[in-house]
Subunit: 159 residues, 2 copies
DNA sequence: CTCAATTGAATTGTGTGCAATATAAATTAT
DNA sequence: ATAATTTATATTGCACACAATTCAATTGAG
């Protein structure tokens, strides 16, 4: 109790930094969850989870790619992607085939159903935009800032 | 192939919105993971995972609270918190006791070790700040924007 | 006062996320 | 050409995250 009294008198910068409200990181973390919850009912209709949706977005842009490529684009590793991709294959949205050129490589290709799902997915971003209650311009500006932050963090991780 | 040719000619707004790079949501999602990876080595020294660290931050601010309270502050439910809190109890950082007033309520209190860990944790925010390579002002501004977005998303979820 | 409805935690089941390890294929170095 | 190293994916184990369910305790309407 004595030390608490002393602490209360000198609130250091370190103390302030430990406040939950001050942490950008918690802001990002909790916003990611909020997005996930908004996406859930929309993606349920497509039979996808949010990470699966991200994989499909990546594949709709470029198809017939190694797992490695997908991992680099989504910042995910094989421990995450392998089971996820097996579920997408079980749902017959993708096909996994080992490359003949390099037997280590597994190529991910969309099935006709996988391609077709893109049309149903087109409605999703609009609903998200509505839920965010922002203009496209505001969201894009914020996105650019966040991506810049992410890239700096990833740069530190790569030594 | 024919339909692809037609698609290429008329790139609609819906097509653009499905691009991975354009999704603020992916920006938030991937930044949360990047933060997690930066935090990992720092929190390993405290013996905490990132969600456990968030719980400790919350408890360092206010102690002796029901699980429900923690859940509301962190946007997490009992399915996530119950096992996490059991691990913190096993690590002797917190104590879980059923309230005598309302037997349904489980109160979470810090142990002396739990309180003590706060001192070691003070170094963490500084390291994160350094990794983010931003000024405090920039981070706070970005944090406020992201929190505003999160709150709007959560508002939609609450009907 | 009583019994149905509500509430707070815990449990169960599914799906990430990642570290650590394993394995097989390809590359390089000798 | 063969051993050592590197590379791409898979596996295992642990820790979230959340929907759905369960269960006990409390509240509230009649």
């Amino acid at each position: 109790m004595d030390s608490m009294g002393i602490m209360a008198r000198k609130q250091t910068a370190a103390d302030q930094a430990l406040r939950l409200d001050n942490q950008i990181c918690f802001a990002v973390y909790s916003t990611a969850h909020a997005f996930n919850r908004v996406y859930k009912p929309l993606l349920d209709r497509l039979g996808l989870t949010y990470p699966q949706y991200l994989v499909m977005l990546a594949l709709w842009e470029r198809d017939d790619v190694p797992v490695k490529d997908l991992g680099e684009r989504l910042f995910l590793d094989s421990g995450t992607l392998t089971p996820l991709l097996k579920r997408l294959e079980a749902a017959e949205l993708i096909k996994r085939t080992r490359s003949t050129e390099d037997e280590r490589v597994v190529l991910i290709a969309l099935t006709p159903q996988g391609h077709a799902l893109r049309e149903k997915a087109k409605a999703v971003p609009q609903s998200i935009l509505a839920a965010s209650d922002c203009t496209v311009g505001e969201l894009l500006a914020m996105k650019d800032e966040i991506v810049a932050l992410r890239d700096r963090l990833n740069a530190v991780l790569g030594e």
